[in-house]
């Protein structure tokens, strides 16, 4: 490892998390996030939820689950049926969907949990397929057959500034604050609560508009989270009080000074993203719901909210009694049993919890896409979810994020890539730079020879196309560069000095290219422009899966946990899941 790099101060992990959170909040406002990309982000968000839920089963408890799509589908169908047939507003179906999916998981997994790894795997595949066949065949006459169900409702929320919504939100905020500040002394606990409540109710009249309750809510949330954050950073109660006051005063000043603009902008956004429905009276209280329009941005924040709640929950779960029991069961079931852990019970909870959460993701899916059809819950979807978890790093939360990026976002973005990007504009340079950079890094210890090799490959890459003015030759050049990088380490094992070989091979390559280029350049270009990257999308994905696993068997961002030290000893094959747990930094 580079010494200079080592000595640089490492940023604390919370800074990375905070940056990520801010990035996620700012993302939909960035210039390149057009309608379809925001829509894709929502879709990816649902898969993050699915990945996180499957992570409980596969990552924490070490159980094979290749039928997760069934529970996702169960949630989506439950939401769609309740919404279409019984007119229940879709967000209200979340607990029901979670119960149905979790309950079903409990019911079906109870008799099969004693099965060993691979047998469990096939049984879960079987459950997934049974679900798909059942909904395709219109089981119980409620699933709409292969057409699926259409017209699930969009999410509806009560208008946030109509009583009693602000009051309820405040009560929830205060409960959160009181719970989180239990050990911070009465000044912060009760005084802080008073300040928050006061500012919360003063802000709208100060600004002169009821709409500003939205800002009050944001302030409350920020205040509670900010105090918790400061305490975790090690500040004492005085520091926390100051932080709280800063937040409250900033908001109050801002709200009072810009009340009219705030109200106008809230009204504008309401108009743009929401439909205000007819007033509904529940128990004599006026609850006017606003429904999401089709625009993806409100969905984005809805899903983001769910993801944040999920991640916070998962992290607490990981370090709980149950989380440690899962870990124990995963690493060594017999020993876990010997320690008095009810392994069946523990596994059952993992299954039920993971599936229930997949059901919640199903509700979000149904509310976003409004069509729920069997194809969306087939075996391939289960495979994708499984890949998200394992590819990213089984048991690791950031791994799920990276896995989703790789399995869901990247393939969609490939749509934007035309065949000519390989040889037009900066395309070839970027790709070559990546390849050669990778090569240089992997051969760091051989200094000069590696630099010369890299230079030679680069030269062979650029000379023929530039000489002949035939940019399509870059494509062959890229294949050559890739081949060289794979062959070089093999070659080096046989000879002490590979350089003459490399130079010779590259010179021969350049000659051949010059001949090919002058004779068939046009044909080549036509062939390449007829090439559709979409046709090869899943092929590329497959190759990438193999390569990633070979390079990083434990996933891209492997799980890190404090307190468990297991060196990466190769387990005897067949002795249960042997996920290498690395020592925490």
């Amino acid at each position: 490892m580079n010494e200079a790099l080592k000595r640089l101060p490492r940023p604390a992990p919370w800074m990375g998390q905070l940056a990520l959170l801010l990035f996620a909040i700012a993302l939909p406002y960035m210039g390149f996030m057009d309608r379809s990309r925001t829509s894709l982000a929502v879709f990816a968000g649902v898969y993050v939820m699915l990945g996180l839920s499957l992570n409980i089963v596969v990552g924490y408890a070490g159980l094979f689950q290749l039928g997760h799509a069934a529970f996702f589908g169960l949630g989506a169908y439950t939401a769609a049926i309740l919404s279409i047939e019984h007119n229940i507003t879709i967000l209200a179906t979340i607990p029901i969907a979670a119960l149905v999916a979790g309950g079903a998981a409990m019911l079906v997994s109870k008799p099969i949990l004693h099965l060993r790894g691979d047998y469990l795997c096939i049984v879960t595949i079987a459950f997934g397929e049974i679900f798909r066949i059942a909904v395709t065949n219109n089981a119980f006459g409620i699933t709409g057959g292969s057409n699926g169900l259409f017209g699930a409702g969009r999410p509806e929320l009560p208008l946030p500034w109509l009583s009693p919504v602000p009051e309820i939100v405040l009560v929830l905020l205060l409960i959160g604050h009181l719970l989180l500040t239990q050990r911070s002394g009465p000044v912060l606990q009760w005084g802080g609560a008073g300040v928050i409540a006061l500012a919360y109710f003063l802000l709208p009249p100060l600004a002169g508009h009821d709409q500003v309750f939205v800002i009050s809510m944001a302030m409350g949330l920020l205040a509670v989270a900010g105090v918790a954050f400061l305490r975790e950073r090690g500040l004492d109660w005085r520091g926390q009080v100051i932080g709280l006051l800063v937040i409250v005063i900033l908001f109050a000043a801002f709200g009072a000074a810009r009340g009219d603009q705030l109200a106008a902008s809230i009204d504008g956004n309401l108009d743009k993203y929401f439909n205000v429905q007819d007033p509904v009276t529940v128990l004599g209280v006026d609850v006017t719901p606003v429904a999401f329009k089709r625009d993806a941005r409100p969905y984005y924040f809805l899903v983001l909210g769910f993801i944040i709640v999920t991640i916070v929950g998962m992290r607490r779960l990981q370090n709980s009694r149950l989380g440690r029991a899962w870990l124990y069961v995963r690493e060594d079931q017999l020993a876990a049993e010997a320690m008095g852990i009810d392994t069946t019970q523990v596994k059952l909870i993992a299954f039920a919890l993971g599936s229930a959460w997949a059901g919640v993701a199903g509700v979000l899916y149904a509310s976003r896409f409004t069509v729920v059809a069997p194809e969306s819950f087939n075996f391939l979807q289960s495979v994708i979810m499984f890949c998200i978890v394992v590819l990213g790093g089984s048991g690791s939360i950031p791994g799920v994020l990276v896995g989703t990026l790789g399995m869901v976002v990247l393939p969609e973005l490939l749509r934007d890539v035309g065949p000519t990007f390989l040889y037009e504009g900066a395309g070839p340079f970027v790709i070559l730079a990546l390849i050669l950079g990778g090569h240089l890094l992997s051969a760091r210890d051989r200094g000069q020879a590696a630099v010369i090799e890299t230079g030679l490959i680069g030269a062979a890459f650029f000379v023929p196309p530039l000489l002949l003015g035939e940019p399509s030759l870059y494509v062959i050049g890229l294949l050559m560069a890739l081949a060289m990088i794979i062959v070089l380490p093999l070659l080096r094992r046989r000879t002490s000095n590979a350089l003459p070989w490399v130079a010779g091979a590259l010179a021969a390559y350049a000659l051949v290219m010059i001949v090919i280029g002058s004779q068939f350049g046009q044909d080549l270009e036509r062939e390449i422009s007829a090439f559709r990257i979409m046709d090869w999308r899943d092929g590329l994905m497959g190759v990438a899966m193999v390569v990633m696993m070979v390079l990083r068997p434990a996933g891209i961002i492997p799980e890190r946990r404090k307190g468990i030290v297991m060196s990466a000893v190769a387990e005897p094959s067949g002795a249960g899941p042997a996920v290498a747990v690395q020592q925490a930094t």
């Binding site: 596969v58 008799p111 099969i112 004693h114 099965l115 060993r116 790894g117 691979d118 047998y119 795997c121 096939i122 049984v123 595949i125 079987a126 459950f127 397929e129 049974i130 066949i133 059942a134 395709t136 065949n137 060594d332 079931q333 017999l334 020993a335 075996f379 495979v383 499984f386 890949c387 394992v390 590819l391 089984s394 046709d535 090869w536 999308r537 899943d538 092929g539 590329l540 994905m541 497959g542 190759v543 990438a544 899966m545 193999v546 990633m548 696993m549 070979v550 068997p553 434990a554 190769a570 387990e571 005897p572 094959s573 067949g574 002795a575 249960g576 899941p577 042997a578 996920v579 290498a580």
Partner: protein
């Protein structure tokens, strides 16, 4: 009775194919404890290669279809066998000590890649084998209306020969003994002087090669295929292997026939017991059967109950 006989023949034919493909899963599992998800697609590649050969290189052999098919079989066996070995070398060997999740992803990746190439090679269309291959084989008349076509007999005989041959090879030869040793314990086998990597390579040659042969037979028998064949058929064969007890060669055969026949019987007699659209539900019933058997016998019908290694 005649209908029953006819349906039994239908089921045996399907089951035979499941059984041969299941052998590949079972062999690989035996030595590596790895579910080779790419096996189904390698089997489909057998069909694809056979189609490519019989419609191009051997297309002029129209009068000598037996020779053409034999030649194609040899090429398919070799090609798919080498394909299997290559995949093992590239995608599985580096992961041998990496736990059990990573090889599954790697296998799925290999399956995706194989399928994508096949889709592009076949233009995503249904492809047809030349008409009238082996059409002059005599039929075997069983009863008045029930007969076994020559092709069916050939298929069943080939399937049986492959299975018996493989069983004898594994049980009676030195290499077979080495295979069984490797399946028990890699390290001890190595101490006994067995070249474990070579044995695994061999298994990855034989399993896929047999799968490829089954693919060719399926192409000839059904006359047409598309690139999704491997995924679907592979999943079924995998179930058959598990059903019989994975890692166990007679088990794979038994599993294949049980699955084939029970699927057929569900379709045949489902309507009589009140399941009007039995055909649509057929696969679901096969899965229920699988789950039931596994609940009763957690390691499959012929699977040994191995105490968990610690």
């Amino acid at each position: 009775m005649e209908t029953f006989l006819q349906q039994l023949i239908n089921g045996l034919t399907i089951g035979g194919f499941y059984a041969v493909v299941a052998l590949g899963y079972t062999m690989v599992y035996g030595v590596l404890k790895l579910i080779n998800f790419a096996h189904g697609d390698m089997f489909m590649w057998g069909t694809l290669t056979g189609w490519a050969l019989l419609t191009t290189v051997f297309a002029s052999f129209t009068d000598m279809d037996v020779i053409a098919i034999l030649a194609a079989s040899v090429v398919v066996l070799a090609f798919i066998g080498v394909m299997g070995m290559t995949i093992e070398r590239v995608a599985y060997r580096p992961l041998r000590s990496a736990g059990r999740l990573s090889p599954i992803i790697s296998a799925l990746g290999a399956a995706f890649a194989l399928q994508a190439v096949a889709r592009n090679v076949s233009d995503a269309r249904w492809r047809t084998y030349p008409e009238g291959l082996l059409a002059e084989l005599p039929n075997v008349q069983l009863t008045g209306r029930v007969s076994l076509s020559g092709l069916q007999v050939l298929m069943l005989v080939t399937c049986a020969a492959v299975m018996i041959g493989l069983y004898l090879f594994v049980q009676r030869t030195r290499v077979g003994t080495a295979m069984r040793a490797v399946s028990l314990d890699h390290d001890v086998s190595r101490l006994m002087g067995i070249n474990v990597n070579r044995i695994i390579s061999l298994v990855f040659f034989i399993g896929p090669a047999l799968g490829g042969l089954a693919g060719l037979l399926i192409g000839i028998y059904y006359g047409s295929f598309n690139f999704t064949l491997g995924w679907v058929f592979g999943l079924k064969a995998f179930i058959a292997a598990i059903l019989g007890g994975i890692g166990n060669i007679p088990g794979a055969v038994i599993g294949g026939f049980i699955l084939g026949i029970s699927e057929t019987m569900v379709v045949a007699y489902g309507p009589d017991i009140g399941l009007a659209d039995a055909s649509a539900w057929k696969d679901a019933i096969a899965y229920v059967l699988l789950i039931t058997i596994l609940i009763a016998r957690p390691t499959g019908i012929l699977g040994e109950t191995v105490a968990e290694k610690v």
